[in-house]
């Protein structure tokens, strides 16, 4: 039995997120992978396994067998390096990094590449809404007209009614995301928005409007995950993955105990904090899966930053870049962007840069521990990692 290894991120890279009409799925993935390899100062042929994260290429791009595609065009099929796609809906990225973490921790591999990619703009409009609704229960939710935005809206209305929360509080999540994204060169949107603008955009699914919803976009992100031995041998300066946890809930929102409690986030964050041997108050900043503004509030609560119904007390000041608990310094899903399979890996790119003090204008001061939360569907899965610590 080999000894369990500590696990480090030793390199990270990503493409710009956005509507990248001229770029293909494979081009985006290769660009992010090469940036990560260059950033780490390793050679791609040294990678022992590739985990590719992707959510919907099968139905959006008509391309399955993503592992082989990524391995082939990143040039490592020549070296017969195994490559597997990890699919966990919109949590694919976090799930793929977790597989890398487990593989390195177990002692099986010393260097693993995780590459997340999504190419959404090959389809648009009502057609794309139908395809993205496949992360729901097709036969018992989407069949009746449910979409991801509609179910988030159903959660939002109930939440606002039960806790007497005004729409302003939701909109502040988006205002914060845009403010941070304005300092992130990789972000899809670099414009700041006002509360007024957030509140007055066009309705998507009431009470949510366009500024409550993460955009459609393309992008790729990659990280290299390495063992303690590898880091020492090659004198690399990694950022430690202190803990990794995931948890599941019912697929359909209507089957869960509450319309606004994310049990998957609760369980995964508790396990991740225990694994890292830290308390929620020790977390320096968090990247959270706010694909819809309401999820930002629900997650602040279920990850442990606020009591249920009280996230409204954090969203006006505390979550700002220089606030008590900075949320989404990257710009989050609303403004950095949400290219599904890339989103969760992109959170690690941000954490790596932040914890190495290389986040430029959006650098969080004195950051030690990052919490990263990636969520599948309407909360059917959460993956939580704690990164940093040294």
């Amino acid at each position: 039995m080999t000894e369990l290894s500590d696990v480090y991120i030793v390199g990270a890279g990503e493409t710009k997120f956005g509507e990248l009409w001229e770029r293909s799925l494979r081009e985006l993935a290769v660009e992010a992978g090469l940036r990560a390899v260059e950033n780490a100062g390793v050679y791609s042929r040294d990678v022992q396994v590739l985990y590719g994260s992707n959510s919907l290429a099968g139905i959006i791009n008509g391309q399955e067998n993503i592992g082989a595609l990524l391995s082939d065009f990143s040039g490592i099929a020549e070296n017969n390096i195994p490559a597997i796609r990890i699919e966990a809906s919109t949590a694919s990225g976090g799930a793929a990094v977790r597989q890398a973490y487990l593989a390195v921790k177990s002692g099986e591999y010393d260097l693993v590449m995780v590459g997340g990619v999504e190419k959404m703009t090959d389809v648009f409009g009502t057609e794309l809404i139908d395809l993205t609704s496949s992360v729901l229960d097709r036969e018992w939710e989407a069949f009746f007209g449910a979409t991801p935005a509609a179910l988030a809206a159903i959660s939002a209305r109930k939440y606002m009614a039960d806790f007497n929360v005004e729409k302003d509080a939701l909109a502040m999540m988006s205002v914060n995301d845009h403010a941070n994204a304005s300092k992130n060169p990789d972000a899809q949107y670099k414009n700041k928005i006002t509360l007024e603008q957030a509140l007055n955009s066009v309705a998507v699914a009431e009470p949510l409007n366009m500024m409550d919803c993460s955009p459609v976009g393309d992008g790729a992100a990659a990280v290299l995950v390495a063992s303690e031995n590898y880091v020492k041998k090659h004198k690399l300066e990694g950022v430690k993955i202190l803990s990794s946890a995931d948890a599941q809930d019912y697929l359909a929102l209507h089957s869960r105990k509450s319309l606004y409690t994310l049990d998957s986030a609760k369980v995964a964050s508790r396990k991740a904090l225990e694994g890292a041997k830290i308390k929620i108050d020790d977390v320096s900043f968090a990247e959270i899966h706010d694909s819809y503004s309401i999820y930002g509030l629900m997650e602040l609560e279920d990850l442990g930053f606020a009591q249920k119904g009280k996230a409204k007390d954090l969203v006006y000041e505390d979550i700002k870049l220089n606030g008590r608990i900075p949320i989404n310094p990257s710009g989050g899903l609303k403004a950095k962007g949400n290219p599904l399979g890339a989103t969760g890996v992109g959170q690690f790119v941000e954490a790596y840069r932040q914890l190495k003090g290389k986040a430029g204008e959006r650098q969080v001061k004195d950051s030690k521990y990052a919490m990263l939360h990636n969520m599948g569907g309407t909360g059917s899965m959460s993956v939580v990692h704690i990164v940093g610590g040294e």
Binding site: I129, F143, F144, A149, I154, K158, L259
Partner: protein, 133 residues
């Protein structure tokens, strides 16, 4: 073809609101499921079909403006999660009502309606929607 059989398979449950009741703990599940999440192995073979009344309460709702392709002709529509009197909740449209009339907590009843045109074959699918009592 696949699209047709995929949606046809569950049509009995959709047409008559047939749930599964666990013979071990007596909980009712809709959509129907073959394993009770509470009783696990003890429920196998004991999940009995029961028809529900179609009466319930609106837990929450939305008015959907950005719609998926099969629902373009219905835009905008009201989508709700309804808690049925027998216990389970489901996702369905509220019809024959103005959005202004719909409220959390209002009682509703199931009606049998056209749901959408699904897939490239344009198959018209039927199932439950709800109207205000």
């Amino acid at each position: 073809m696949g699209e047709v059989s995929r949606f046809w398979r569950e049509s009995v449950h959709r047409y008559r609101l047939v749930a599964h009741k666990c013979g071990n703990c007596q909980r009712t599940y809709f959509p129907p499921r073959d394993v009770c999440p509470i009783c696990h192995r003890e429920s196998v073979g004991k999940m009995k079909e029961v028809e529900m009344s179609g009466k319930g309460v609106i837990e929450s709702f939305t008015v959907v403006h950005e719609v998926p392709s099969p629902f373009v002709r219905q835009r905008p529509y009201i989508l709700a999660i309804v808690k049925l009197d027998e216990g389970p909740s489901l996702t369905a449209q509220i019809v024959d009502a103005d959005p202004g009339e719909v409220e959390i907590g209002k009682r509703v009843s199931a009606v049998f309606r056209k749901i959408a045109q699904q897939g490239s074959a344009g198959i018209i699918q039927y199932g439950y929607k709800f109207i205000l009592d």
